[in-house]
């Protein structure tokens, strides 16, 4: 495979920024659902809101320690809602990733691609979730045997590999026009293993970009204060992370396209 061509091709596809926007808007809408109760509460009249927004730990500690039952039930409700909404984010990703890849590949329109691959990618998501659990279990086992650091590193590496297989499976679905998630996963594993240097390099570049944005955020968040600049910064970070994810998919599409052409030749 030609890694330079893959990088350039991926960047060219990912530069079609509007294709990422439906995914971002979906995540944004779900997060608004998540915080909506905040605006329908008597807390709206309590100045502690300002202190909480300013990261004043004292107030948070006060709320938790003085009403532990209420704090526990609120935390449970928030966690439950977060889990449910996170699953919905996963569903939105499974919907729009098919559309983005189809539009980049020129095989279908964005919306047609989204619909065509949705159920296939949902199945793929469940399989990947199962593999992620196995990766964490292996990491935990190694952690017990060789220590927390070794276990954590193992779990992270395995999880990154599963994530990579998922991206290449989605790309393979579009380039090979297949929808069986098990076959797609097998195809992805073959592509990654046969092109280890290129695929792993691209994965590391993508990971570095994600970490870079996180580091930039941790630097800026102490310098940028107040509403609405903080929100703008954080939403910018969210959008950047989404775009990098799209870029990784675009690179996977470039690689699988090259591999498919090479196979045909």
């Amino acid at each position: 495979m030609n890694i330079l061509a893959a990088i350039v091709g991926g960047l060219k596809n990912a530069s079609r920024f509007r294709l990422v926007l439906p995914l971002y808007l979906g995540v944004l809408l779900l997060s608004l659902i998540q915080i909506w109760p905040l605006f329908g509460n008597t807390a709206l009249y309590n100045p502690v809101l300002g202190a909480l927004a300013d990261h004043t730990a004292d107030v948070f500690v006060d709320l938790v320690t003085n009403a532990p039952d209420a704090a526990a039930s609120t935390a449970a409700a928030w966690s439950g809602l977060t889990l449910l909404l996170t699953l919905l984010v996963g569903a939105i990703y499974n919907l729009f990733s098919g559309g983005m890849l189809s539009a980049w590949a020129g095989t279908r329109s964005f919306w047609a691609g989204s619909r065509y691959f949705f159920l296939s990618f949902m199945g793929l998501g469940f399989i990947l979730g199962f593999l992620l659990v196995i990766a964490i279990a292996i990491g935990a086992g190694i952690g017990v045997a060789f220590g927390l650091t070794a276990g954590s590193i193992t779990a992270i590496i395995l999880a990154q590999l599963v994530n990579l297989f998922g991206e290449y499976a989605r790309a393979a679905a579009v380039t090979q026009n297949r929808r069986n998630p098990l076959l797609l996963l097998g195809s992805a594993i073959r592509i990654v293993l046969r092109n280890r240097a290129g695929t792993l390099s691209l994965a590391l570049i993508g990971l570095a970009l994600h970490i870079g944005v996180a580091l930039l955020y941790s630097t800026l968040t102490n310098r940028i204060t107040g509403f609405p600049m903080t929100i703008l910064l954080e939403q910018g970070v969210v959008l950047a992370w989404l775009w990098i994810k799209a870029l990784r998919l675009a690179w996977a599409l470039s690689v699988t396209s090259q591999v498919t052409v090479e196979s045909a030749l």
């Binding site: 709320l63 977060t82 996170t86 509403f227």
Partner: protein, 627 residues
């Protein structure tokens, strides 16, 4: 000391707050102050002036046996009757007898558990006195009686006021596995922290001997004196002791012999390990020397920064640290029972088994160094008035940590020192006094009340009278009672002489009261607001009113009545009320009911909502966009 319950609370309930910029500035200043040195200096036995009365002095010659886990030796005690009374008896404290079986006062009160570590029945400690004579050889041992950790020694001749007596003692101490400040552990059990280990005279003060046995919560009550200690350990072991080494260790017959001297101190302890490495730094004229273990090398700078910062800051606030050296001992993770303890000129730290950067090292170091003022200079009785010891120390350490920008915890879950104290205080039962003897508290209650409630109360007092005035008053207390045995009444009298009457603190807060104010009602028309005092402590409190015109008025309510009702000034409409807007009342129980607005606070709500959205979006991307 005894910080384990506090740390448990930290681990269980940590959260948001970083002061990164402030911390970086402080770290930079400290880094400029800190000078690394590869080996400790062996300065002459210089002390910054022998200032304390020499009441009980000890010249000891002891040997550590790392295999048998014993320390044996001889001591020559010189005791001067400090009272106007004639003494017919003496009392020797044999602290290690507290660990000789599970039926001692200490063990019964603690259930055999210290800081969550149970003592192992096959690894107990003990102390045996072999001989006890007067300097002329007259035997005293035959007439002694033992009770728990005390040995009563009838004197053959009365000891008149101001008269001196000299005793010679030989003994053997059996160290427990690291437990309640003393013992062994670490790699191949080669780390030794030797504390509360030698026959030591009890204190005769205000007409009576202090004959309380050693209690589980309590630490110590000691007289000042001079120490001259020769310590023999196997070659290869590094020794760190109270005071100053007079010269490098001498090698004799396969053993290494160290000699330490210390003036103006109340106790002696030492640590030994073949794995100790050293780093040092200076805080003005004070040398700070750290004996650390290789596995904790990453924490060295945190130890030294906290050491330099605390010595410098507390010297400026309260009065100069009176010794030329402070020694810090790092303890192994499996010997945390020996960590977090204070002796004169020597403290023990430890990482708590937490990764580097948790803030634990800086917290413990600052706390233990705070003890170098209270009680190492004001020798209070920790058993009977623990808040004058641990409470003043917790305040001092936490205030230093706050000024230094130190936090506890990691990243977004790090909390500042005030919040950390509040977390502990909130676990305390309501209405409990601070001025009780240590044995009246449960282990958890002791930490929450004696440490945290006292610290927050003093912090509140500081903020209500002003930091400079308060620290000046504390400095006055130290000046008057340095090298004496002050009690709570002395502390109160000195502070009130400087600050004026503070009945809310001494009569109400210390005796069990709580501070709590709340908004009672804000009339919907905004023309009147009612404030309620829910706590029993009547501390003056600031009230801030924001009017419809945008004008802000601040007044002080004396809190003497249970409620107060305030009309809107000049007939204007009140749109927001805030109690204690500058958070002077650090000890207030509930602060989330301290404000109300007649208008919805959409800006802060949006800001908070934005934060929560970001948290959710981060989680959702990590999981939802997998694959």
């Amino acid at each position: 000391m005894n910080v384990s319950n506090i740390i448990e609370a930290l681990l269980e309930r940590t959260m948001i707050h970083t002061r990164l910029t402030h911390a970086l500035i402080i770290a930079l200043i400290l880094a400029l102050c800190v000078r690394s040195q590869p080996t400790p200096t062996h300065a002459a036995p210089h002390q910054q002036g022998a200032q304390a009365p020499v009441i009980a002095s000890y010249k000891m010659d002891v040997q550590l046996d790392p295999v048998a886990k014993t320390v044996s030796g001889t001591e020559h005690i010189t005791y001067t009757n400090p009272s106007k009374d004639t003494l017919n008896e003496l009392y020797l404290r044999l602290y290690l007898r507290a660990f000789r079986d599970l039926n001692t006062t200490w063990m019964r009160e603690s259930g055999g558990v210290s800081r969550g570590f149970p003592i192992k029945p096959d690894e107990l400690g003990d102390i045996t006195v072999h001989t006890l004579t007067l300097a002329d050889g007259t035997d005293l041992l035959a007439t002694t009686t033992l009770s728990d950790t005390l040995m009563r020694v009838p004197l053959p001749r009365p000891l008149a006021a101001g008269q001196q007596i000299e005793l010679d003692v030989s003994w053997t101490s059996k160290l427990p596995r690291a437990f309640a400040r003393t013992g062994y552990g670490g790699k191949n059990d080669t780390f030794f922290m030797v504390g509360q280990w030698y026959p030591k005279l009890a204190v005769y003060d205000r007409g009576q001997w202090d004959t309380e046995p050693w209690h589980a919560n309590a630490e110590f009550f000691n007289d000042f004196g001079a120490y001259d200690v020769t310590i023999s350990v196997p070659s290869g072991y590094v020794v760190a002791g109270v005071g100053m080494p007079t010269n490098p260790p001498q090698e004799r017959d396969g053993r290494s012999v160290s000699h330490y001297t210390a003036d103006d101190v109340t106790d002696f302890a030492f640590a030994a390990s073949p794995d100790f490495q050293t780093r040092s730094a200076r805080a003005g004229n004070v040398e700070i020397i750290l004996y650390y273990l290789p596995e904790h090398a990453a924490s060295v700078q945190e130890y030294l920064d906290a050491g330099v910062g605390t010595i410098t800051t507390l010297s400026r606030w309260f009065g100069q640290y009176p010794h030329p050296r402070l020694t810090i001992i790092d303890v192994p993770n499996d010997a945390e029972g020996a960590g977090g303890m204070e002796y004169p000129t020597l403290i023990t730290g430890g990482t708590g088994g937490l990764p580097d950067g948790s803030g634990f090292v800086a917290y413990v170091t600052a706390h233990e160094i705070g003890h170098q003022w209270w009680p190492m200079q004001t020798a209070t009785n920790e058993a009977t008035e623990p808040w004058l010891d641990e409470g003043l120390t917790e305040y001092s350490g936490a205030r230093y940590n706050a000024d230094a920008g130190d936090t506890l915890g990691f990243g977004p879950f790090a909390i500042g020192p005030a919040t950390f104290e509040r977390l502990n205080y909130m676990s305390a039962p309501l209405g409990k006094p601070l001025n009780q003897p240590s044995w009246n508290y449960s282990s958890g209650g002791y930490g929450a009340l004696i440490y945290a409630k006292t610290a927050l109360g003093l912090w509140t007092l500081e903020r209500t009278v002003g930091t400079e005035r308060f620290h000046k008053a504390m400095a006055e207390y130290l000046t008057v009672y340095r090298f004496k045995h002050p009690r709570a009444a002395d502390f109160r009298a000195t502070l009130e002489r400087s600050l004026g009457p503070q009945p809310w603190f001494f009569d109400e807060y210390v005796t069990g009261g709580e501070i709590d104010y709340a908004i009672g009602d804000l009339n919907p028309n905004g023309d009147r607001v009612t404030i309620i005092r829910k706590g029993s402590v009547r501390v003056p409190v600031d009230l801030r009113l924001t009017l419809a015109s945008g004008a802000v008025t601040t007044s002080v309510w004396d809190g003497q009545n249970e409620t107060t009702s305030m009309p809107a000034p000049n007939g204007q409409r009140i749109v927001r009320v805030e109690i204690d807007p500058e958070r002077k009342l650090q000890a207030e129980r509930i602060i989330s009911d301290n404000g109300v607005s007649v208008e919805p606070l959409l800006g802060p709500a949006a800001q908070l909502g934005g934060r929560l959205m970001f948290v959710f979006q981060s989680i959702a991307q990590l999981i939802g966009l997998f694959g």
